[in-house]
């Protein structure tokens, strides 16, 4: 107790308190202004260590020395009666109070004043949305090299999603390099000048992240899902592979085999995809949408290193990409990291435009694919519009009415009532160039494909002349609206939705027009779209069935 009293008399506790408050204030100040002052990132850590070391020193000092009217003297040498430790104590109290007030003001002000980050030169804030319908917290920014970045913060879970879109896909290929875009998607995991093959995935997973990628006729997308704590690592390895990709000959040869295995299981041993591949190759005679995304077998075997190098430089350039971030991040921290990691990657000349326009189809085309099959399949494809075409949204609603769910017209008619097929579905390409509206039907063993085709055409032509009912249109709108909300329930769905609208329609904000756009579409527009697309002379029909001994 005597020690305690003496500690108290010598103001050691007050010095400790003052030291703690002052340390906190210093660190707070450095944390908020370090970037403005241009201090290196390690300054904070260095200061913490310094202040930790300083603490015992300060306390020993307070114990040993005492302030007297004649200056600083050793406490042991000061007569108790002449000691002014009490006054010094009062001064210390005042100092703590002043610092505390300063601290409270600073912290309170932080919420009221614009953030200091605003003052940091070189870190842009990004553009706020133009439309009132767009969530106000979204920001977008285009770097000087043309790379556009969109950030939608959502702090519900401590995770982040990154979608990296490259405008390169099957449409950028030609005979000899079909499937190259898809193969390149595999190559992007196979090593850089800095990371050996396999290290990209190992680094990502060790930081808690997972990834995937896909390639379509139009684009290649790289997707990362990771905890917030992995943000720096992700930026580092993503920037690295988009700048320093290296082709390791041995890995490339192994990866060719991997892609072949993918082709075998997803096309050669899959009757649906086997027919689909032949359908596209038939429906398009000129446009590169005729190529299978995975590539023709002979091309998979034949790509060369030169093919890769030119492709990487042109298509993977920052001006040909768009990146979406959603989740537990702030736009400013993303733009700061992007500035650090992506800004130095040089822009390139834009890729050559896809010039070929598919000529108007002059009459129905028919194919038969023979395969080991218990259940025959019938596919119908019609040339339709690009993502931006005016008929695309009405046609989407129409497809919902025709094949969306158990209550849809074609399901009720063909599966439930007439039992001619066991499954019917459909979709529409929504790409950069005009694509296909597509129906697929699976028949029971021994089913009658000619009858199914006739019933399909009758129904499609009925829609083209009579249109749909108001109730059907209302139902389709509700399905689209509910899908819209379901899509926005996860950070992954948010990233995907923003990306689709930004990449295919040129403006992510159009996503938020969707509910109003869908409300505005009329029955007449649906009928007109049907009349324009569902014409026999615009159709390709494919039948997959088991080989037959006698051809009809």
């Amino acid at each position: 107790m005597a020690l305690f009293a003496e500690l108290r008399r010598r103001n050691v506790f007050k010095v400790a308190l003052l030291y703690a408050v002052a340390s906190w204030l210093v660190l707070w100040f450095i944390d908020h202004t370090g970037e403005v002052l241009g201090l290196p990132g390690a300054t904070e850590l260095f200061l913490i260590l310094l202040l930790l070391i300083g603490a015992p020193v300060a306390l020993c000092f307070a114990w040993t020395y005492e302030i007297t009217p004649s200056g600083l003297r050793k406490a042991a040498d000061v007569e108790q009666t002449q000691s002014i430790v009490y006054k010094t104590g009062q001064k210390l109290n005042a100092a703590v109070a002043v610092l505390l007030v300063l601290g409270v003001l600073a912290v309170a002000g932080e919420g009221l004043l614009p953030k200091f980050e605003f003052l940091v030169p070189g870190i842009p804030q990004g553009d706020a949305p133009a439309s009132e319908k767009t969530p106000a917290e979204i920001r977008s920014l285009t770097l000087a090299n043309g790379l556009k970045i969109i950030v939608w913060p959502d702090h519900d879970i401590p995770n982040v999603v990154m979608y990296n879109y490259v405008r390169a896909g099957g449409r950028n290929e030609h005979p000899g390099i079909t499937g190259l875009s898809h193969f390149f998607e595999h190559m992007m995991f196979l090593g850089t000048e800095n990371l050996a093959p396999g290290e990209f995935d190992r680094t990502m997973e060790a930081a808690g992240g997972a990834n995937n990628a896909y390639t379509s006729n139009d684009i290649t997308a790289y997707l990362d899902w990771f905890p917030r704590s992995a943000l720096d690592v992700i930026f580092e390895i993503e920037a690295d592979r988009f700048e320093n990709l290296q082709t390791y000959a041995e890995s490339v040869e192994d990866e060719r085999k991997v892609v072949f295995s993918e082709r075998r299981s997803s096309i050669d041993d899959n009757n649906f995809r086997k027919l689909y591949e032949q359908m596209r190759a038939t429906a398009f005679v000129a446009h590169p949408y005729q190529f299978p995304v995975i590539g023709w077998p002979s091309d998979i075997e034949a790509w060369t290193e030169q093919d890769f190098a030119g492709y990487y430089r042109t298509y993977y350039a920052p001006n040909n990409r768009t990146i979406i971030f959603t989740g537990d991040v702030t736009p400013v921290e993303i733009f700061e990291l992007a500035d650090e990691h992506f800004a130095a990657i040089p822009a390139q000349d834009p890729p050559p435009p896809v010039r070929t326009i598919e000529p108007e189809q002059q009459g129905v085309r028919r194919i038969i694919v023979e395969a080991d099959a218990q259940t025959p399949m019938l596919h119908l494809a019609f040339h339709a519009g690009a993502a931006t075409a005016p008929e695309t949204q009405p046609l989407n609603l129409l497809l919902n009415i025709l094949v969306g769910g158990e209550s849809s017209r074609l399901h009720r008619m063909l599966v439930e009532n007439e039992q001619l097929v066991i499954d019917v579905g459909g979709f529409q390409d929504e790409g950069f160039d005009p694509g296909l509206a597509y129906f697929y039907l699976t028949l029971p063993p021994g089913g009658d494909p000619a009858l199914v085709e006739r019933r399909m055409l009758e129904e499609l032509q009925r829609v083209a002349t009579e249109g749909v009912t108001a109730a059907e249109l209302a139902k389709a709108r509700n399905i689209v609206l509910a899908d819209f909300w379901r899509g926005l329930a996860t950070i992954d769905g948010k990233a995907s939705a923003l990306g689709q609208f930004e990449v295919y329609l040129g403006d992510y904000e159009r996503l938020f027009d969707l509910p109003a756009d869908v409300e505005a579409i009329t029955i007449d527009e649906l009928r007109d779209a049907a009349a324009q697309v569902f014409r026999v002379s615009n159709m390709t029909v494919g039948l997959l069935r088991a080989p037959q001994e006698t051809e009809e």
Binding site: L27, D31, E44, L45, I48, D156, I157, P158, N159, G198, D201, E205, A206, A207, G208, A210, N211, W225, P227, S229, A230, E253, D254, V258, S261, E262, R264, S265, D268, D269, N270, R273, E333, A371, D372, A373, Q374, T375, G404, G405, E406, S407, S408, R412, V415, E416, Q419, I422, T442, P444, P445, K475, I479, A482, D483, W485, R486, A489, T490, I491
Partner: protein
């Protein structure tokens, strides 16, 4: 304050072993058990105007009557084909007209109905859910139609999706007469045996309040929702048929091979496994870490060797299937016909290596981070949470199953993990193989793995 986080991250790096623990703590829910045994779990989650619901009836394919495999799944499908006052067409119209989803399917130990819809449509969608459970129509025509279509859809799957079929053949062959061997979808032959009156009898026997869990999450008022569900289910009597008692399945000793002939197949698809663990296996965290590293992550041992280093396949994984009294553990992959034996031998050597050498500490840290980093997004939406709470109730687990999991993963030690590997992963001498491929080309070569039982893929069943 981003700075504070940065400091803590820096300090964490100074003091921790490198595991960035991020467990998930479940939100508080309202749980009510009615007098007749119905359990209701409610969670208000008003961030998006959506509601997710999952109803679960304990039972499932283990209650399929003898020779009527696929009964539970067929009944699940029929719940949507007319209920209450609505015909099949009217029911589908009601769900689709509001853009909702409400679909039922069977698992081995339960039938579940999952739904997601806009909050504004809650009254309608709950009414439909109640009708599905309490007053499905099950009329003759709909039963026959769905039964015949289900048979043809199994045939179609055999034409298009071999990757998905190996576990059906594999588990059937492994569990043999044990109820866990029941293929959930039944088979072409067993479905054909089911009559409309069989289905109605099964519903009477196996549906009732004592087996029902309803879990609902999203934008709604708990008090009103509770009152609605209480009114709908508090008078539902118990089911009359008892649930079967399941014995823990015994691991298979020795080796046996089921060869499923698919003439002209470009690749061979294989499943290699044995009996694994139950859902309540106490070293779950250790086992999950081991399995993630052995065969779930992209950089797993199986993917590294079978895909990245050798190009033998596009995909290879190790799968844990966990039921209440046991489960299976299997390696799955596929490769072109000519490299069938090379790929299987490689997979077996990796299994032997895993058992002999265990997993190194550095790899374990990576596996832990991967599991923890991917944990939160699995419980992000109302629908996911509703599904989780229903599963916990159905298997008699509580919230610690999730809440303690993060710490258990972060704290799992290398020795414990390697002990679990020895205890759970089968010895290479005791394995069951199911291989789909061109039998004429591979029969001779795969004979070295054990005595072969062969069936054609067109046989209307999954078990020999």
């Amino acid at each position: 304050m981003t700075g504070l986080r940065r400091w803590s991250a820096a300090l964490l790096l100074l003091f921790s072993a490198g595991v960035l623990a991020q467990g998930v703590t479940l939100p508080e829910v309202t749980r009510v058990e009615l007098d007749n045994g119905v359990v209701l779990v409610l969670l208000e989650k008003p961030d998006v105007p959506l509601i997710g619901v999952e109803a679960s009836i304990r039972g499932g394919a283990i209650t399929d009557p003898e020779g009527r495999g696929g009964m539970a799944d067929l009944l699940a499908g029929l719940l949507e084909k007319g209920a209450g006052e609505r015909s099949a067409a009217e029911f589908a119209e009601a769900v689709d007209s509001v853009g909702g989803t409400l679909s039922a399917s069977a698992g081995l130990e339960s039938i579940t109905i999952s739904g997601e819809f806009l909050a504004r449509d809650a009254d309608l969608m709950i009414e439909l859910l109640v009708d599905m459970l309490r007053s499905p129509t099950l009329d003759d025509q709909e039963v026959q139609k769905l039964r015949d279509r289900s048979i043809d859809l199994l045939r179609a799957a055999k034409d298009t999706n071999l990757r998905l079929l190996t576990p059906v053949y594999g588990n059937g062959f492994l569990f043999d007469d044990h109820l866990y061997g029941n293929p959930v979808f039944g088979s072409e032959a067993s479905l054909a045996q089911i009559s409309p009156s069989d289905v109605r009898g099964y519903y009477q026997d196996y549906f009732g309040g004592d087996r029902l869990v309803i879990s609902i999450a999203g934008e709604f008022e708990s008090v009103a929702m509770l009152a609605k569900l209480h009114a709908a289910f508090s008078d539902w009597p118990a089911a009359t048929a008892p649930l079967p008692t399941i014995a823990a399945p015994e691991p298979v000793t020795g080796r046996r091979v089921l060869l499923v002939d698919k003439p002209g197949a470009a690749q061979s698809y294989f499943w290699i496994g044995n009996v694994g663990v139950s859902r309540s296996f106490e070293s779950r965290a250790e086992l999950n870490i081991a399995n993630s590293i052995f065969g779930e992550q992209f950089t797993s041992m199986l993917m590294d060797e079978l895909r990245t280093r050798s190009g033998l396949t596009y995909g290879a994984r190790s799968s844990l299937v966990r039921h209440s009294m046991g489960g299976s553990l299997a390696i799955l992959s596929y490769t072109k016909t000519e490299s069938t034996v090379e790929a299987i031998d490689l997979a077996l050597s990796l299994l032997a290596k895993l058992r002999a050498e265990g997993i190194a500490d550095e790899r374990i840290t990576s596996g832990k981070n991967y599991i923890l980093g991917q944990f939160a997004p699995r419980l992000e939406t109302a629908e996911q949470l509703a599904g989780l709470f229903a599963t916990l109730e159905t298997y008699g687990l509580d919230e610690t199953y999730i809440n303690n999991y993060g710490d258990a993963v972060a704290g799992a030690g290398g020795e414990a993990i390697n002990a679990v590997i020895k205890a759970v992963y089968p010895e290479p001498d005791n394995l069951v193989f199911a291989i789909i491929g061109d039998a004429e080309l591979i029969r001779e070569h795969v004979a070295k793995y054990g005595s072969i039982t062969e069936i054609a893929i067109t046989e209307p069943r999954f078990r020999p």
